[in-house]
Amino acid sequence: MLFFTFVGFQSLHAQGKSKDEKVKEHVKKGKDKAEKMKEKKSYSYGKDKGEMSGKEFGKMRSEEAKNKIKEKEEVVNKSDEIVKSGKEKIKKAKERVKKSVDNGEISKEEALEKELKIKKAEEKINKLDKQIKKEKEKLKKEKETIEKVKF
């Protein structure tokens, strides 16, 4: 009888303990959720941001994005120039190598080495050219989207 009472008490105690743990876990989860909600709430852009209203905040972000567009346009133009001058330089370098080979100024090995360098530069220029075209298209769409958004 005493034995059964002891076993029963133990199991009840264990259940109680696991219940306590569950409750603690539940409370912890709730706290985490509340913190996450708090974080999320602070990102609600539409609401007033300090002294700024949601619309003013939006206008500010819009101006920032427009500045980034200008920066990107500058980089695109700069890259365009690099591609143009690069193509010219590649053409000239190819001519120089051919002339040197024809005049017997350089060996075949040297010519191959130089051609390899030219090829590498050509690949990089072509890659940049493709990237510029892609970015120009993207930039156009991004510009349109930003201009469409009005606050």
Partner: protein, 66 residues
């Protein structure tokens, strides 16, 4: 009765206004999120393009020695 009607109408107007304000806030929030996502993309793509341009520039400079 008149007072109750005024109160109900007042409450109705109040809730209508607050709903409108919430809808406006949501609209602004969506717009800002859209702009922010474009901004992030602009920053990343500009950085990538700049890196590629520098790489290409380096490769071209090497051609001067040929």
């Amino acid at each position: 009765m008149k007072k109750i009607t005024i109160l109900v109408v007042g409450l109705f107007i109040f809730f209508a206004c607050s709903n409108e304000k919430k809808a406006e806030e949501k609209k602004v929030e969506v717009a800002i999120q859209k702009i922010d996502s474009i901004s992030v993309d602009l920053k990343e793509s500009t950085k990538k393009l700049d890196e590629s341009a520098k790489e290409a520039m380096k490769a071209i400079e090497e051609l001067d020695n040929i």
